[in-house]
Symmetry: C2
Subunit: 386 residues, 2 copies
């Protein structure tokens, strides 16, 4: 979908169904309680993003507590040991064409893994956590294995090579070389910021699926499908397309003002829950700025920043996480259609935590609907219909 | 999951989250408005099941109206022309082990198809309907192709052979021979009864995914994952396991009374929406009875019927659609783990209609949650954690 199509499809805040309606209890996350804050299991996102690796935050979400140094070392070692892909999964990935959307590839890869290594029938928590860990470890392998095979002429990479952390592993596989410390730090922060966000649409999808008693792979597969939508995870791809439209900040400012006057929605701004600002914005903006070391990078950053100030002045709207994530990812030379898959990689930690929590809750989620169709139509047999 | 585990996991009516909360508008279906009725687009399910083929009902759901004779003939001819599977999809199915759950195979097959033949980016309704039709036509091919390959020693069947209708096509592929008129009629009725049911958990999953602007394959893939759960589509498999526990109606009656006294939940009875009875029960019961032509078949039917009267007397509980569907499917020699996939085949008509409707609505579905976790924990740096 191009930005204009997305803008046409996008509706403002009032069009959020179930907005403000509690669909369950959670101890995992609060979003915007003060209008501008985000907490994972009681911890402020600003602290987590400034001081943690993604693996610490994944441990917090999936296991319920921040790890000690020894626990973190053991956890990271275990995740490294899980990076390999089963042969049948590699073969399945090789069947998917280069033209496939990487989100469709992810959705398929997780589904195949669920056939090859199904969850135990009793859905015990220890087993579910192990699957969550295996997914965190193999998602970069899965994505980049397909990417290099399909789009680099059949190249079969060694998915177990490269890097101490998930952030480093992904960048190493993608670029075929060890990434800089700055890139690893930016990727860690980005994964932490994307890891969890309460009952957003993809997490809610995972919980609805889990509520029927289905398995973790089914929940994650469904969540990936939901995240793909341009009103949800797909937004960071659209944000970059907007930023790349402009040769200079001045050009961006005048064009955005014109579009705002025409009531066009600018993807990357505003949020259905935050009212004051997105607390993740300042963090990812700082990451993006630190990566803007070339003239082209500084220009892209300057355009993004000018659109931020323009939207603030003209519409009192703030950028959400997707806006500068797009800048940061582009500056790390990540292809645009891998942006949303990176969101998957991060959010799998949150999704898994929510599935485990939904199972403890034990409820099936089954709303009702307002019927607006015809009532009591008289049935007409086939041979009398005209 | 065995019946005891399911019973332990199952909760009664009050544990339905969002029960009675409208999550959107629909013109597709009403469930239980009088406590005991079901209408598809205004038509009574009793009329549809008694007089229609599944293709007429699929046309009603997906295209909005019952077809004329000429439209139905053209629609069925088109569906027959769409039965083939792409070579890469066959190869992908061949990679999935015989031990895989057929629901996981379906989830994977639909996801692969979404990589091979993606939906047009503008998600126009005509394209969405074509994909829905292609899924209805290919789901039997996909399921039985994998089933015969994985479980009959690598047999590669011709998926385009066999049968005028979807019901006949499925039975023909599965048994390798033309089914009887009685079996085709029973399968038609069953598919019609399973085709649609308002905002049930799998349909709601499809709508949440569609609400983000994602594609139809993602919605269906997620819905399959939700339907897999034993509190939803998986119930018909559990129902047969219960019925097969007993050698006679008398044995069934005394054991069920004992279990009811122990407050055990009997899968296949009761419903979160219907209060008086499930209007689909009498229809599928008649189908099941008509198929019970052998001594073993009559015994199974008699056991199911005795449990119905026992549950009515002891608990005032009525059987839902799953109870006699299990009997009917078993009498058509359908392997138990293909029961829920048949539900997928039928419900794909309803799911697709809901995705198209959700897109017209244009809303993202994003509820909130009650936070019950810790507040404002002080962050402790890694090297100080104990």
């Amino acid at each position: 979908m191009n930005p204009a199509e997305v803008s046409a499809a996008f509706r403002p805040k009032k069009s959020v169904a179930l907005s403000g309606t509690a669909a369950g209890n959670t101890a995992i996350c609060t979003v915007g309680q003060s209008g501008n804050d985000l907490h994972y299991r009681g911890y402020d996102i600003a602290d987590l993003a400034a001081h943690c690796e993604f693996e610490e935050v994944a441990h917090l979400l999936i296991y319920g507590a921040l790890p000690t140094s020894a626990q973190l070392a053991a956890y990271k070692a275990r995740l490294r040991s899980l990076r390999g892909l089963p042969a049948q999964l590699k073969s399945a990935l090789e069947l998917l064409p280069a033209s496939a959307h990487p989100m469709d590839v992810f959705r398929t890869g997780v589904s195949v893994l669920g056939c090859l290594k199904p969850e135990a029938e009793d859905h015990n928590e220890s087993g579910a956590r192990s699957i969550a860990d295996a997914l965190l470890a193999t998602l970069p392998s899965m994505l980049v294995y397909w990417y290099q095979f399909a789009r680099s002429g059949g190249k079969r990479i060694d998915v177990e090579a490269g890097g101490d952390s998930i952030a480093e592993h992904f960048l190493h596989l993608l670029h075929g070389a060890a990434p800089s410390k700055e890139w690893i730090a930016a990727m860690q922060a980005s994964l932490i910021l994307y890891a969890e966000h309460e009952f957003n649409a993809s997490t809610f999808t995972a919980r609805v699926i889990a509520g029927t008693g289905s398995d973790l792979y089914s929940s994650i597969t469904g969540a990936i499908g939901a995240l793909k939508g341009p009103k949800h995870g797909g937004a960071n791809e659209v944000a970059l397309a907007i930023q790349q439209r402009y040769a200079s900040p001045d050009e961006a400012e005048s064009d955005i003002l014109r579009r705002v006057e025409n009531r066009e929605v600018i993807i990357g701004f505003g949020h259905p829950v935050y009212t004051i600002a997105d607390p993740r914005n300042a963090i990812i903006r700082a990451s993006a700025r630190s990566l803007a070391t070339t003239p082209e990078g500084r220009r892209l950053y300057a355009v993004a920043e000018r659109i931020e100030t323009t939207m603030q002045r003209a519409k009192k709207m703030f950028p959400n996480l997707d806006w500068y994530s797009a800048v940061a990812y582009h500056l790390m030379q990540i292809p645009i259609d891998l942006f949303t898959p990176l969101f998957v990689l991060a959010r799998t930690a949150g999704w898994s935590a929510h599935v485990i929590e939904q199972r403890q809750d034990g409820k099936i989620i089954r709303p009702s609907a307002n019927y607006v169709g015809p009532e009591n139509l008289r049935f007409i047999p086939l041979n009398q219909r005209t």
